[in-house]
Amino acid sequence: MSIFEYNGSALVAMVGKNCFAIASDRRLGVQLQTIATDFQRIFKIHDRLFLGLSGLATDAQTLYQRLVFRHKLYQLREERDIKPETFANLVSALLYEKRFGPYFCQPVIAGLGVEDKPFICTMDSIGAKELAKDFVVAGTASESLYGACESMFKENMEPEELFETVSQALLSSVDRDCLSGWGGHVYVVTPTEVKERILKGRMD
């Protein structure tokens, strides 16, 4: 079994009209055994920037701690929040530093940039960025997620419709993957508020 499939994960981020949604599953497993059903994979960097980390859970937690550290110093030095595109470059550089002994994580970055324009991107475990205008996916359920998102995605969705779409895509995809699931965790972010919701799906 690949190291990326050790813990199991599913992550998706989608762009809407002046908003974005980022969602993950909630299962933490050790191969076939489920250890936790409330594991957090999506982290807030600041009010308009969220980071999801799929892959090996320990690396996800450590990488998150390192990035929060870097961002706090950035905030103190530059007296402002980091832009999503800049943060993506920072993550990419950090991952490539460990090119020959990498973090076994695939990050998904979603944020609101200048003039509230939504920004999403993902990258592989050594920092190769993949920008997208519609959606990005990561984790053991990524193949199902690609299919579900491709068919359900529409441009310029309002926050409520975006939430429905992301939730349906996530739940239907993790149902086809034994290593991810046990509910969903969805954040819908607009310029004025962040709505966090828990989904109840097939609890297996």
Binding site: R77, E85, T86, L90, A93
Partner: protein, 214 residues
């Protein structure tokens, strides 16, 4: 005076609390060619005297004003070779920032890092301070900015400034002719309460408190 006995070592304070080597470095700057800078509402201008030792010198080969990044330039007063070293280091720092963030470095960050280099050379063994003061002019997301960096590593933001020879005359001229308001609070107040969050009061808040006191 006890000071002169302490002027040999950079890393030793004199009894009067000064680092005499840095004072000497400032003197070296003060006898360098005049340079000055002015910040306008929509840009910054820096200029320097380019007096060459003889008419035989090829003046096109001498460049006293240099670019650190496409949107930040610098001029100096003092020792030319020291300036070249600082320009080289600053350019490298700006590029490293860009490599990490793919964003052009903000002027304040570059000034801070250059000043940190200059400060290192006032607290290490076997080195001497840089014999230059820099005027850094840049335009970034925070608008036009003008900074002066001294051999000690301290830096100041200016609306208009001059360095080198005849600096007092130049500054008097700028103060008289400059159209901005040269007023400012010369006190800073920071506060931490039961919320356990440290913050610095804004000048407006300080004004309010001062008005109450009066």
């Amino acid at each position: 005076m006890g000071d002169s006995q302490y002027s040999f070592s950079l890393t030793t304070f004199s009894p009067s609390g000064k680092l005499v080597q840095i004072e000497h470095a400032l003197t070296a700057v003060g006898s360098g060619q005049t340079s000055l800078g002015i910040k306008a509402a929509n840009g910054v201008v820096i200029a320097t005297e380019k007096k060459l030792p003889s008419i035989l010198v090829d003046e096109t080969s001498v460049q006293k004003i240099q670019c650190l990044t496409p949107n930040i330039g610098v001029v100096y007063s003092g020792m030319g070779p020291d300036f070249r070293v600082l320009v080289r280091k600053s350019r490298k720092q700006a590029e490293q920032y860009h490599r990490l963030y793919k964003e052009p470095i903000p002027v304040t960050q570059l000034v801070r890092e250059t000043a940190a280099v200059m400060q290192e050379f006032t607290q290490s063994g076997g080195v001497r301070p840089f014999g230059v003061s820099l005027l850094v002019a840049g335009y970034d997301d925070n608008g036009p900015q003008l900074y002066q960096v001294d051999p000690s590593g301290s830096y100041f933001s200016w609306k208009a400034s001059a360095m080198g020879k005849n600096v007092s005359n130049a500054k008097t001229f700028l103060e008289k002719r400059f159209e901005g308001q040269i007023s400012g609070k010369n006190i800073e107040i920071g506060i931490i309460g039961t919320d356990k969050k440290f913050r610095v009061l804004t000048p407006a808040e300080i004004d309010d408190y001062l008005a109450e006191v009066e």
